[in-house]
Amino acid sequence: MKKAPTPNVGNGVGSSKLHNTLVYLQQHWQLYLIFMLPAFVLTIIFRYFPMGGIMIAFTEYNPIRGIFGSEWIGFENFTRFLSSPDFMRYLVNTLKLSVYGLLWGFPAPILLAFLLNRILSSSIKQKIQLVLYMPNFISVIVLCGIVRILLSPTGMINSLLGTSTNFMTMPSAFRTIYIASGIWQGAGWASIIYTAALSNASKELKEAAVIDGANIIQQIKAVEWPAIKDTVLIQFIMSVGNIMSIGFEKAYALQTDLNLNTSEIISTYVYKKGLLDGDYGFSTAVGLFNTVINVVLLISMNAIVKKMNDGKGI
């Protein structure tokens, strides 16, 4: 990142620099006061003020007394969370949900893109794509509603299997449900980026490979995989960087009282502890713990990308 221009007052060069800056500001004030101001103010108020609020994590927060009136208890909230028997469970639930989600969910759109690339008729391909992308526009609530009625004891899945299992109350089924419904909804949409990369694969190279008698596996190895390799890598690294920021909305909408053993993740726990139980200090501490792990992950992933990408980070 470049540094902000700080006028270096005190010597001749500096003051002429200052003068230049003033002239620049006079000519370009609109850039600051009209274009930049709204975004800047919103960012400072709604992004940076809450960062100051992180101090709550180190207090026995009392809403009436405010941040500075509340008792300062240092790291007590953190030790309370880290030493509680639930801590390991929530951390493991969060990690398992996102790591398994990545392992199953990441290859799916790549496979779809390869398959779509082999559809010969472009009008059929378009119709297939229309269907594949459709679930992406269903809201989280409706998706979870669909999942719940399909998996209910009298729902479609049970009638197909001839059973009456209540999957939504089984802790062992939660991850499968979460991940499978995620693939159902998102794999088609996520394949767009790979489909585009595949369409950039050199046509001549592919024709040459076909003339040389290369079969499909050989064509994929020699032509198609090289065309999407970079995209795959970047997407993978970005997904790994986001492992701890797995969303609240879907996990919460798929929770039932009986599957909490596997479905309670850090973000849902933060919400319940903070806004439902009013334990503000503790909840903020748990949230901060999550954010810090996330930042560490992102920074290390960014460093890896920089290394591979000739010094260009994300």
Binding site: T43, F49, L130
Partner: protein, 301 residues
């Protein structure tokens, strides 16, 4: 799947044919897996609740009924939800797109002094934030609780969309700007009269994202809006679909608890159809804008 191109298909060697057939089968299964639940829900939504509960789908049309649709459509809360969702999504899209497009302009200019400073300020927020409780307390202290501003204003500036718009601006030839400056056009005139008109594809894309994002989200509304009259569609749907607590008026005329439960179950099917229909119908028309956006993100990544 490739019936029309049979001749082309026949040219493939035997190994390839096997691979292709397996591939087409996988793709076919995936498509069936997408369509089947949708068809099931559409069919089930028309079936008498008792029959559906006891024997599942039936094509005995004497057991078909429009009860569920009548009850969902005559429920006032659903329409309140639709109206609110529409208002919030439109307002949010306008506010957010204006703020984002404006900020992206100085950020796209290499000669903008302070670009690095603003960039740092913005990018940090993509990685680090105060978290749920500090944000909630701030909104509360600002007196925004239970007002629509709580869900419209805080997320209005999207750094990610700003980066995408900036990248797009930077692809516009600089000659345009130089010509405008020579003609004495101010920044404002150049931006509104010259730059924005050639950026409509990316503006459409960002608008779609923001609209659909607001339409489909529920978390902010759940924590900031308490009044029933302010609830967006997704919260109304949550009560019916997730909490199985439809508005009392929707099922209260049923005599037994069992009947009420069965009807509440059936209402879910109709609710899913009615609430998803608008986006499902509109999406094919807007699809290309979404595709554009994905590409814009890809260029950047």
């Amino acid at each position: 799947m490739s019936v029309k191109k049979k001749s082309e298909f026949a040219k493939y060697p035997a190994v390839d044919k096997t691979i292709l057939i397996i591939g087409y089968i996988i793709l076919g299964l995936f498509i069936v897996a997408i369509i089947l639940p949708m068809v099931y829900i559409i069919l089930a939504s028309f079936i008498d609740p008792v029959t559906l509960q006891n024997s599942g789908l039936t094509f005995d049309f004497s057991k078909w009924t429009l009860t569920a649709y009548e009850r969902v459509m005559s429920n006032a809360q659903i329409w309140v939800g639709f109206r609110n969702a529409l208002i919030y999504s439109v307002l949010f899209t306008i506010i957010s797109v204006v703020v984002t497009l404006l900020a992206a302009y100085p950020m796209s200019r290499a000669d903008f002094k302070g670009r690095g400073f603003f960039n740092t300020i913005f990018v940090i927020t993509m990685f680090f934030g105060g978290g749920l409780i500090p944000t909630y307390l701030l909104i509360s202290n600002l007196g925004m609780l239970d007002t629509i501003w709580a869900i419209l204003i805080p997320p209005a500036f999207s750094v990610w969309n700003m980066i995408i718009a900036r990248t797009y601006y930077m692809g516009i030839p600089r000659d345009l700007q130089e010509a405008a400056e020579i003609d004495g056009a101010t920044e404002m005139i150049y931006f509104f009269k010259i730059l924005l008109p050639v950026c409509t594809p990316i503006i459409a894309t960002i608008s779609m994202w923001q609209f659909v994002g607001m339409w489909n989200s529920y978390f902010d509304a759940m924590i900031y809006l308490n009044s029933a009259s302010k609830q967006p569609l997704q919260l109304v749907l949550r009560a019916i679909l997730i909490q199985s607590q439809p508005e009392p008026g929707m099922v209260s005329d049923m005599q037994s608890t069992a009947e009420r439960a069965q009807l509440a179950e059936l209402l879910k099917y109709a609710t899913i159809i009615i609430s998803s229909l608008p986006l499902m119908i509109m999406y094919p028309f807007f699809q290309k804008y979404f595709d554009n956006g994905i590409m814009a993100g890809a260029v950047k990544g």
